[in-house]
């Protein structure tokens, strides 16, 4: 599998560290309530299909990426810098 780093170009997955679902980019407000925080921390829908994930280009440029990947076909659909994801 190769991931398209916006800075470095397509790179082998060995260069990357996988963090998990990109939902971590949508951190709730501190006073959002326990239900919202419970969902943010623990609940993942695990939908088959296009899935946003966080990967660190650890052995490359060092940037965090939001990679969109199809969990059924394993097609890598795209990647953007996590810092440029609007919230």
């Amino acid at each position: 599998m190769r991931l398209p780093c916006p800075i470095c170009g397509a790179r082998d997955h060995r260069e990357f560290y996988y963090q998990g679902a990109a939902v971590m980019l949508d951190r709730p407000e501190p006073d959002a309530g326990s239900d919202v925080w419970d969902e943010y921390l623990h609940l993942r829908p695990n939908v088959p299909g296009a899935h946003d994930e966080l990967w660190s280009h650890d052995a490359g440029c060092g940037a965090w990426l939001r990679v969109t990947r199809n969990t059924v076909t394993h097609e890598v659909i795209g990647a953007v810098l996590a810092s440029e994801v609007s919230r």
Binding site: I7, C8, G9, R11, D12, R14, E15, D58, A59, G60, C61, G62, A63
Partner: protein, 181 residues
Amino acid sequence: MGELIARTPLDGFEPLTIGDVTLSEVDMGVLTSVAPYKGQTKAIAAALQDAHGMAWPAPGRATGKAEARAIWFGRDMALLAGPVPDPSLAQHAALTDQSDAWTCLHLSGAGAEAILARLVPVDLRGSVFKRGHTVRSLVQHMNGSITRTGPQTFLIMVFRSMARTLVHDVQRAMESVASRG
């Protein structure tokens, strides 16, 4: 206080030639990581040009010459290799002395590309990776920096603590390529 003697990471390592390729340690001089502050990339580019006469390297590029290079070293970072950084750079970027932190090797010869193909998961052939191109990638299992400094010469850098492992891995690849004739 005793007399302190600076030692390079591979102090005493004699150039190693196998087949048509030579591996040798290179003294890069002062190494400084230059990480521009937010919104200061244009300013640091101008300061680097004024003070050291070289362009700020775009991702995947190295500028300058043998005695003084600026090597792209990751997101929003360059490595100034050679000169002591001019104080003016500190207005626009965080400067960190890394002189003793890196093992620096030259791999030179016609077979260098074939050797690196066994170690680095990036296409480093001359048709796509030309002189002045650089990557941050893996050398076997080590994070490193690889720069083409000549038609058949590459600069390989890994952390100092991995100096002997780097030589071991490169030497094995050199032997492997040479044995194929």
